[in-house]
Amino acid sequence: MISKALVTDAAIIEGILQDDDAALSRLYKLHFSMVLFFVQSNSGTEDDAKDIFQEAVIVFYEKIKAGQLELNCQIKTYLYSICRRLWLKRLSRSSRFSHGMIEDTESELAPHVDADAEQAEQNELKFEAMGNALGQLGEPCKTLLEDFYIRSMGMAEITEKFGYTNVDSAKNQKYKCLMRLKKLFFLDYQVPS
């Protein structure tokens, strides 16, 4: 049984490394109901469970991609502890009984959980702030920046797409947009000290 689970785990990690969408799907099918059950039995909704689970999966995914994952237990356990930690934190923040509630005995199980949960939260904050900033930026700045930085289009291509007279004015536009985005982003998001 255990060896089977381990095989499955290895297959999922392999799949993620190879950008296989089926691996994510598998991850979802295998583990989401567990998290859903935990969150629902702790006064949460399915949407809460979805958010929490996705945060955890993103950290997991990015750690695999970056090759930083130190997994000394099953994926199931790892995801569960992160989700649990995230959810308890969120609960304690919205609750009046906020102190000392999440002094957990389970942290021995997965020693990196705390840090990972923290990272997941920062990640979430950053993502949201960036999303907001991009939203406020408006067109065509948003698309321009996304094209350049995310879709890695060349400046020449962009000049053509947006109908600028030359590459230089496109670059100029891009610079202005970036500066505005930066301002908007840091209005929302404080770099953790």
Partner: protein
């Protein structure tokens, strides 16, 4: 170099697209100028964040798709456990139900125990409103002493005034002229020694011969050596039951002096349906117990025993018939002398004051010492 060009240079530097000359220049400047180095790092972080955002966005989209797929799959199998958002009232109840339960329990217990306690206390202190009391008088020592001080002049020997007045007192009457005497059992109950004293101050020592606790009667006999006899008794004892509505009277010692009380026979049974007693409507007080109850013609028809507290005009007397059967049933050997009851009645036909004058020599206060 404009800011824009600098930014582009830095971006290229991070993407490793700079010439070695540019790189050297940049790195030298970063080493020399920490503020500049900071700026370079910030540009890198921000760019990374932006790129990261794009990556994560696509990842999230994929995850959402998976979520939808999962939802569709699971909705078929199980309708998701509908966990409704609770209303504030429900949340409140969930959070405080236990506390409220405890508080309610405490309140209920407190209320009922205090009610119960109060009830018990009340019944303990007040007792029943209507109850039977025996009319033996508990002599108030202090009062007696004060009276004695006021009444006695200094010439009287102090010995007389320090005489023990006795702890209880009641009334009794003469049964036979040769020294038999009747009172209520509860008057002499627990007595060490007994004295009888009449209105004239004649004191006689008596002893208990026989007592019947059930009928509340006691037979005494004068043991005083100086005693010569009571004289001829003016009343006789009635064997038959008297009729309702008959006028009856009694003499007794509810205080130091003899007190007359008159009324009617109001019932042929006593308290709790006791057929051995009459109910009479004579105002009686503690100390009247043991007194004789006589009818208009001067027949002894009963012995005063007690009254009902909290009920108006309800006093009780043991029927004389029971006194007579008691005397009949007495074993001979317990009696120092046979009892010869008076047969003649001298009171009949006399007006009440005359009757009382004759009677009062035969009614005594019984003093109980213990």
């Amino acid at each position: 170099m404009s800011d824009r060009e600098l930014l582009e240079l830095i971006e290229r530097y991070h993407q490793h697209q700079v010439t070695s000359a540019e790189r050297r220049a940049l790195e030298e400047r970063m080493a020399a100028d920490p503020v500049f180095a900071q700026r370079v790092r910030e540009v890198e972080l921000f760019t990374a964040a932006l790129q990261n955002h794009g990556r994560q966005k696509s990842l999230r989209d994929r995850l959402n798709q998976h979520h939808q797929a999962w939802q569709q799959e699971n909705q078929k199998v199980t309708t998701p456990p509908v966990l409704k958002r609770r209303t504030p009232v429900q949340i409140f109840m969930r959070r405080y139900a236990a506390t409220m339960g405890v508080a309610a329990t405490v309140a209920i217990v407190t209320v009922f125990s205090s009610l119960l306690g109060m009830e018990m206390w009340r019944s303990a202190t007040k007792q029943q409103t209507a109850r039977y009391v025996e009319l033996r008088r508990e002599v108030d020592d202090l009062k007696r002493k004060q009276n004695a001080l006021l009444n006695t002049n200094p010439a009287v020997t102090p010995k007389a005034s320090t005489l023990n007045p006795g702890q209880f007192s009641g009334t009794g009457f003469v049964l036979t002229s040769d020294g038999y005497f009747v009172t209520s059992y509860h008057v002499i109950e627990g007595a060490d020694s007994l004295m009888i004293e009449n209105k004239n101050g004649t004191k006689l020592k008596v002893e208990e011969i026989y007592s019947d606790q059930v009928r509340d009667l006691a037979l005494l006999r004068v043991t005083d050596t100086s005693f010569t006899g009571f004289g001829k008794l003016p009343y006789s004892f009635k064997q038959k039951e008297s009729e309702l509505g008959e006028r009856v009277f009694t003499l007794g010692f509810p205080r130091e002096d003899v007190v007359f009380g008159e009324g009617t026979l109001s019932s042929k049974s006593g308290v709790y349906g006791d057929t051995a007693s009459y109910q009479i409507s004579i105002p009686l007080n503690p100390g009247n117990s043991g007194g004789p109850l006589l009818d208009d013609r001067g027949n002894m028809i009963g012995v005063i025993s007690g009254k009902m507290l909290g009920v108006d005009g309800a006093a009780f007397a043991v029927k004389s018939a029971y006194l007579l059967t008691l005397l009949d049933q007495l074993p001979e050997h317990r009696l120092p002398k046979p009892i010869s009851l008076p047969k003649v009645n001298n009171l009949a036909g006399n007006p009440r004051p005359q009757q009382l004058k004759k009677l009062q020599d035969f009614v005594y206060m019984v003093k109980v010492y213990n």
